[in-house]
């Protein structure tokens, strides 16, 4: 801690930060552009000027850039000093010279950092009388709009895109007042985290096209704090509504989880909430096989009668439904009749994850991942399966750069200096996967088939345990076990990353062994296991069984938000459905299973319902809905609770808080979920928390076309939030903060005002609570080497996830679907020869009507692997246990499509 004086106030501050960070942390309003809490300082925009005085006798002082000023003992600064404030006003006047007269037709208007900073710096009228520079825009894909005229050349976009996110198709071009930020040619931005440009850009150069399609100003959005359901990481999002429709997803800062950034699937993939495929009413299938829309009351009576008459009732839960819904379903059907509905490998990996979380092996949060200095990725395609983790891993390899900077006594916030010093020096990250990984450019990649990845993992664990790499045991030219062992054992914080993207529990077991071996010597060892869905952990902790045994009959089967056809082979499903007399499906979107049901109940999506999600780190987080669903649509837990009441179950549970307390009582290991967020009784200075901003418009006109008599605002009894502008929003805890706003700070960067320190935790603690603690040792697993077949080369279909296309729900969003790959089979020349195919051919299954997979041949695909994308159309291939693939002789390549990669697609 160091003492400094700011405008006459004596302060004690942290000297590892720069002055701008310190001042913002103290709540000062100081304008800035090029500095970003995650990107560090480069001192390019000259906006954050303050006056520094030599000593107390110095009355003149000199202007310094606060973002480039280190904190030194006894330093004297003035933010308000006339010299600095005049300087700031003239700097922003210069930045605004060429800014177009666009605010009314700009998506950023109303939450624009440039607007805020212009007001803050005191600039009003443009005095420059000459022409404004103009630029042509580019097509950057379905997510991001480009309006280059608005640029103030702060360079944040390329620093984020290239340095932070590792993209290489967005750059600065040309010189002087012609500087242009864009791609070398029109095309889709390739990076999976490009959507963050919308928030990183201080003005409206990069805008959210999804929002623009049904644009609403920030002040008109009705928002709620939600949790992303796109993968297992549980990033915090703000979900916003207007006119009964979901309008956008924005980042919601959580210092432990996602920080300032989201992936594009999370940000742009929630449009399915507005999809035409939503199930709007209850439906009961008539005797003639036709669905009939029915009222909620009649349907509940009908289902109640079915349940009373049934001898056997089973319930199949869902890894994408809330914990509450899964729990009530389990109560309704009884613990013995509850199934998780997870595919076999996913269920097994889920249980393994649960055992790890309860053991002495630490699972770090996404923010903590950035501190690890040696990483081993075993069979997990992070960028496509748990995207936000890949962004954290990319920062973790910079620890070597940070060490070099510390040795050279360069402060870590001096971003350009640290990067220049480090050049290509990186902490080791070994990537053992079956197909190319987006992190390959900063890691040490090895391409192996899933069995070999597991074997390599087991060998690494063994070598660590025996303090010696026995190269003889697994002499493999493709991978250097010894170097991995050495890096991991020498690291101060080694991290193992694995998950279910290869659908191989063996790999996860191997990873646990490695972490276990390292943890014996190093308490800082971390292990991350990613699962397929947002709430896998919740459903795994409720039930071990995944699906009823084949041939088991049931009078009534209730399936909760789970399209089982996605997870199980069609034949197995057909067989199971044959034994079910009445199938009741609760879901939000029409899918293969709901169209087979006898009764369908319309479920609310995450954007309309409250629920608790447990991420892969064991963190329980409460997600709140932004708006009331239409008509009879209700949260799944609400449907199930009403069914329970009809069967005289859970009679004393009327409210979701009572439900949470009941869960805590019955399942002591989940007891902490009650504390994941304040309950419905929470009040901030006697008020509930407003979902709307205080300046929401149109209340007396938005529904006036229906009736001029305004309806009462809907009430929310289930949470401390209101569907109203009346209420508090400044002092709410992070888990209830519906939107981020502070006077003078209309953009998301107002989060400065709510952090305990810049880039730190939220003032009242980060949302969510870690459920599992334990010190038990985790089991040691023995390699199952009997895997590969006898002599013959076994062809193995290896799933490959795609950030756009592999997720069931986000696939219903038009923009996401447009970027999904078409089916393909990737194999190496050897395998191709074995299967007697070449480029231009296609592979087909010997049975079923799955579409054929066009063949691509690449040298680095492991032997014996056919890499197949995880898509709705290719699931028949992925459910194949023993490959019976053959050349499709009838197949002809569609014209002119084969050479187009996604980033070359034009509008």
């Amino acid at each position: 801690m160091t003492n400094i004086t700011v405008d006459g106030r004596l302060l004690e501050v942290d000297d590892s930060d720069n002055l701008l960070q310190v001042l913002l942390g103290l709540g000062e309003d100081l304008p800035y552009f090029c500095w970003h809490p995650e990107l560090g300082s480069v001192g390019a925009c000259r906006q954050c000027a303050v006056v520094q005085y030599m000593n107390e006798d110095d009355k003149r002082g000199r202007v310094v850039m606060s973002c480039m000023t280190a904190i030194t003992e006894g330093a004297i600064f003035s933010v308000q000093g006339e010299k600095a404030s005049n300087f700031r006003t003239s700097v922003i006047e210069n930045l605004m010279l060429n800014h177009p007269h666009d605010c009314p037709v700009c998506e950023e208007g109303g939450e624009c950092h440039l607007q805020d900073m212009t007001i803050m710096a005191g600039h009003r009228d443009r005095q420059y009388r000459h022409l404004k520079t103009t630029f042509r825009n580019q097509y950057l894909g379905p997510f991001i709009g480009h309006e280059m005229n608005r640029c103030i050349t702060c360079y944040r976009c390329v620093r984020y895109y290239q340095d932070y996110a590792g993209g290489d198709d967005l750059s600065a071009f040309a010189s002087r007042d012609r500087i242009y930020f864009g791609r070398s040619a029109d095309g889709v931005l390739e990076n999976e985290f490009a959507g963050n440009l919308v928030e990183v850009c201080p003005t409206g150069v990069f805008t959210d096209k999804i929002l623009s399609a049904h644009y609403t100003r920030k002040w008109d959005l009705q928002s709620a704090p939600a949790v992303c359901t796109g993968c297992s990481l549980g990033c915090n999002i703000t979900v916003s509504e207007r006119y009964g429709q979901l309008r956008r997803i924005h980042n919601r800062y959580n210092g432990e989880v996602n920080g300032y950034f989201l992936c594009d699937r999370g940000r742009f993939g929630a449009e399915y909430v507005n999809s035409d495929d939503r199930i709007p009413y209850c439906g009961i299938r008539n005797t003639d096989g036709i669905y009939e829309a029915n009222s909620a009351k009649n349907t509940l009576v009908h289902v109640g009668a079915l349940l009373r008459d049934a001898k056997t009732i089973i319930g199949i839960g869902s890894p994408r439904a809330s914990l509450e819904a899964n729990f009530v379903l389990r109560t309704l059907v009884g613990e013995d009749n509850f199934y998780s509905g997870l595919s076999g490998p996913e269920a097994e990996i889920g249980s393994l994850l649960l055992s790890v979380l309860k053991s002495n092996i630490k699972t770090p949060s996404l923010a903590q991942v950035e501190d690890f200095d040696a990483i081993l990725i075993l069979g997990e395609d992070t960028t496509n399966h748990a995207p936000r983790l890949a962004l954290s891993l990319r920062q973790a390899v910079r620890n070597e750069a940070k060490n070099l900077a510390r040795d050279a006594r360069i402060p870590l916030w001096a971003d350009a200096a640290v990067r220049k010093l480090a050049q290509d020096a990186r902490s080791p990250m070994f990537i053992l996967t079956s197909s190319d990984d987006r992190l390959d450019d900063v890691g040490i990649p090895s391409r192996l088939n899933p069995d070999d990845i597991a074997l390599a993992g087991f060998s690494i664990a063994e070598a660590i345990n025996s303090h010696a790499a026995n190269d003889d045991a697994d002499n493999d030219s493709r991978i250097n076990i010894a170097s991995i062992v050495e890096a991991l054992t020498n690291a101060s914080k080694p991290l193992i990353v694995t998950g279910s993207s290869s659908s191989s529990p063996e790999i996860v077991k191997a990873a646990i062994n490695v972490a276990n071996a390292l943890a014996k010597h190093n308490d800082n060892t971390g292990l991350i296991i990613c699962t397929d869905e947002a709430n896998t952990l919740a459903v795994v902790s409720l039930g071990e069984k995944s699906l009823p045994e084949a041939g088991a009959a049931a009078d009534v089967a209730i399936v909760l938000e789970n399209d089982l056809f996605q997870r199980f082979a069609d034949a197995a499903m057909e067989d199971w459905l044959e034994h079910v007399t009445n199938l009741i499906v609760i879901d939000s979107l029409d899918n293969s299973l709901s169209s087979r049901s006898d009764v369908v109940l319309p479920a609310a999506t995450f954007a309309e319902a409250q629920g608790t999600y447990i991420n892969n780190e064991g963190r329980a987080q409460r997600s709140f809905g932004a708006f009331k669903p239409k008509g009879d649509i209700a949260p799944s837990w609400d449907w199930l609770l009403r069914l329970c009441h009809g069967q005289d179950l859970l009679q004393d549970v009327q409210h979701i808080d009572e439900l949470l307390r009941t869960i805590a009582e019955i399942l002591p290991e989940l007891a902490l979920i009650v504390n994941a967020a304040p309950d419905a009784g929470f009040r901030d200075h006697g008020q509930k928390i407003a979902r709307m901003t205080h300046r929401q418009s149109g209340r007396t006109a938005m529904l006036a076309d229906v009736s001029v008599h305004e309806p009462k605002q809907p009430e929310d009894d289930n949470s401390a939030l209101t569907y109203s502008m009346e209420g508090a929003n400044q002092a709410a805890p992070g888990s209830l903060r519906a939107f981020t706003w502070s006077p003078g700070w209309n953009s998301n960067q107002s989060i400065n005002k709510f952090q305990d320190e810049i880039s730190g935790h939220l003032q009242d603690g980060d949302p969510g609570i870690k459920l599992f603690t334990g010190s038990s040792a985790v089991a040691h697993f023995v390699s199952d080497k009997s895997g590969p077949g006898s002599g013959n080369i076994r062809i193995r279909v290896v799933p490959r996830w795609h950030i756009f296309g592999s997720d069931e729900l986000s696939n219903k969003s038009q923009a996401i679907r447009s970027l999904a790959p078409s089916p393909y089979a990737l194999l190496n020349p050897n395998t191709a020869e074995n299967l007697n195919v070449q480029t231009g051919d296609a592979l087909k299954l010997d049975s079923g009507d799955a579409p054929s997979l066009p063949v691509s041949i690449e040298d680095n695909v492991p032997d014996g692997c056919v890499i197949c994308p995880v898509l709705e159309t290719t699931r028949a291939y992925l459910h194949l246990s023993d490959g019976v693939l053959s050349k499709d002789d009838d197949w002809t390549a569609p014209d002119g499509q084969e050479d187009v990669i996604v980033s070359d697609r034009r509008p």
Partner: protein, 175 residues
Amino acid sequence: MIEAIISQIRTLWTVFLHSFSRPETVQYPEQMPYLAPRYRGRIILTRDPDGVERCVACNLCAVACPVDCIALQKTEDEDGRWYPEFFRINFSRCIMCGFCEEACPTYAIQLTPDFEMCEYDRQNMVYEKEHLLIDGPGKYPDYSFYRVAGKTIGGKDKGEAENEAPPVDVKSLLP
């Protein structure tokens, strides 16, 4: 006591004198009062000099409205021009304060010297865009927002707005 009586008499005298002054009351509706162009009455949406609707759906009128009686939704045409998909004013709530007109950056929304908006059914006080939009530019005949703004629309390319240089050639090597 005396003072009170004098006051009473003075009051009676003043009232009596008023019998001879010119009446302010007019025989409305046969006789219409003069209302200045700046009078704040019924709200209209105007068109720019090119005859295209001026409103760009920026939402500033709605947010300025103290009684929240304006609701609209932005949409855009194939050339990127923003305009309101619907624009609704609930005149049964409107207090004719004129804040919307002051907030409007494009002179689209204007108040007119017409206050005769009586309806038996309150629902008829809800005006949609078709009821609000007039054919002319209203009080500001010359202004066109899109001629000033940097955004491209149909008929106006980059660099063609007022005070704009032609688009930069990024590939130029000149210093």
